[in-house]
Amino acid sequence: MTLAYDECPSCGRRWTLPRTGCPSCGAEPRRCASAGLGTVAAVSVVHPSSGDPYVLVLVDLDDGVRAMGRGAPGLAVGHRVRARPDAGIPTFRAD
């Protein structure tokens, strides 16, 4: 799983999850790779009913889109982070 986003070649709108058409103008988007740099927008330590706690984050990428990933312990809203693929899962750590 690599961090990527969609960009509309017609109006320039960007978003994260793959779509068949731009929600603004309907044009067919192209998939772009993200550099993985951004700012934490939300963070949760999740406590599953079995297994160890883990950190989920929403990150506002510098590309102008929001992505979900795992996070390193101790992250807080506003922290600058960089994503590294961790066993295929994008994991954000303090940059």
């Binding site: 999850l17 949760s44 330590v45 999740v46 406590h47 009913s49 989920l56 809203v77």
Partner: protein, 378 residues
């Protein structure tokens, strides 16, 4: 031809809780029979049946299944899936059918053995599928985790702490204490909420609704009844949290459509039922719709604004947080309660001052599907 006005002629909600031994269809049928009796109708008089999904059943055609069980042979029947918004979505659909003249008596039903019909882990896994199959669920996304991320963003943007959400849970529990059939009735305090075990921080156990067995049903008719459906609305802006615009989730758009049809606004509402799967769900919905200023839902709750004798009596049965959550029927319980209050039939729970205007809102997915209704004393 004059446009028919949709009325709510019958309502019913079963007790909620862990109540093994009945299937989803059993709960749907129990609620439907009671709502039909309340409306003074028998099943053969129903010309449309709309039934919400049940995760424990997964049946291909739940409305046909239910219609046969009841002895109804409707001209129109279909199941509907819009997550937690389903109950209000099918009420809206029933109102549209009646207004258009396509049906004169519509039975709207939700019911599920969600607590005892499957394991907790299966339930969590099933519900997590509202997340993106490739880019959210594999990260460990669950419904509480998605709402925890919403809570994190919400609290940070407004400079609040989890203690600012807890009063919402406390008020719902206080309402449930006097509601027969509530899943959770033991009073709680803000300290109890903050001391409960973490589920997905900042949300703790008492920020989350329980999973229940139960059902609810409503009969919508063209024939006059005590309560009219004067406005309905919906909005569907995203499916996945990653694509959500937190400044425009759809709740306000949905409510505005319903208020616009009714010629009403938030200030006219005497009694409300707003979806409260988590404390943060309720806070975000109340604030986006405009019942509360940004960041103030919790302080409003602490000040007693949502009590039965408060300025905006809210979820007076106890809501999902304490009456309980059996799936589609959970969101419909708010509708049943508001209709009961407008009828002046809530007994010990009755809101004083003869409420005339009610509002109900449902949310499905991760603030993904929104549906609203304005109900008024006819």
């Amino acid at each position: 031809m004059a446009i028919s006005v949709a009325h709510v002629a019958g309502v019913a909600v079963t007790p909620f809780g862990r109540q093994p031994g009945r299937t989803a269809l059993d709960w749907q049928a129990t609620a439907a029979v009671a709502a039909l009796a309340d409306a003074g109708l028998v099943a053969p008089e129903i010309d449309a049946v709309i039934c919400g999904y049940a995760t424990t059943a997964g049946h291909l055609m739940p409305a046909d299944l239910l219609a046969e069980r009841l002895g109804a042979r409707p001209a129109i029947a279909h199941g509907t899936s819009a997550g937690g918004a389903t109950g209000l979505v099918i009420l809206a659909q029933a109102a549209r059918l009646v207004r258009a003249g396509d049906a004169r008596a519509v039975l709207v039903v939700g019911g599920e053995d969600r607590a005892s019909g499957q394991s907790g882990e299966t339930s969590t896994r099933t519900l997590a599928q509202v997340g993106h199959a490739e880019l959210e669920v594999p990260l460990g996304g669950t419904v509480p985790a998605y709402y925890a991320l919403l809570a994190s963003a919400h609290l940070a943007a407004r400079g609040l702490s989890p203690a600012d959400l807890a009063p919402l849970a406390v008020q719902m529990r206080a309402h449930a204490a006097t509601t027969p059939g509530a899943h959770l009735a033991k009073p709680i305090t803000v300290d109890d909420v903050l001391a409960s075990r973490p589920i997905a921080e900042p949300l703790r156990l008492l920020d989350c609704c329980p999973v229940s067995d139960g059902g609810a049903a409503v009969v919508v008719t063209a024939a006059p009844a005590a309560v009219a459906v004067t406005g309905v609305g919906e909005a569907h802006r995203h499916q996945h949290l990653t694509e959500a615009d937190l400044a425009d989730l759809g709740a306000l758009r949905s409510a505005d459509t319903a208020f616009g049809q009714a010629g009403r606004s938030v200030g006219d509402v005497d009694v409300a039922g707003v979806y409260d799967s988590f404390t943060v769900t309720l806070a975000m919905l109340l604030e986006e719709i405009g019942f509360c200023a940004p960041g103030t839902a919790g302080t409003d709750a602490a000040a007693g604004r949502f009590a039965r004798d408060g300025a905006l009596p809210l979820n007076t049965h106890g809501g999902l947080l304490s009456y309980g959550h059996c799936g589609v029927g959970g969101g419909m319980a708010h509708l049943v309660e508001v209709v009961t209050q407008l009828r002046g039939a809530a007994g010990a729970r009755q809101v004083p001052g003869a409420p005339r205007v009610g509002f109900v809102h449902g949310d499905g997915g991760v603030m993904s599907a929104h549906a609203s209704a304005v109900l008024e004393v006819a």
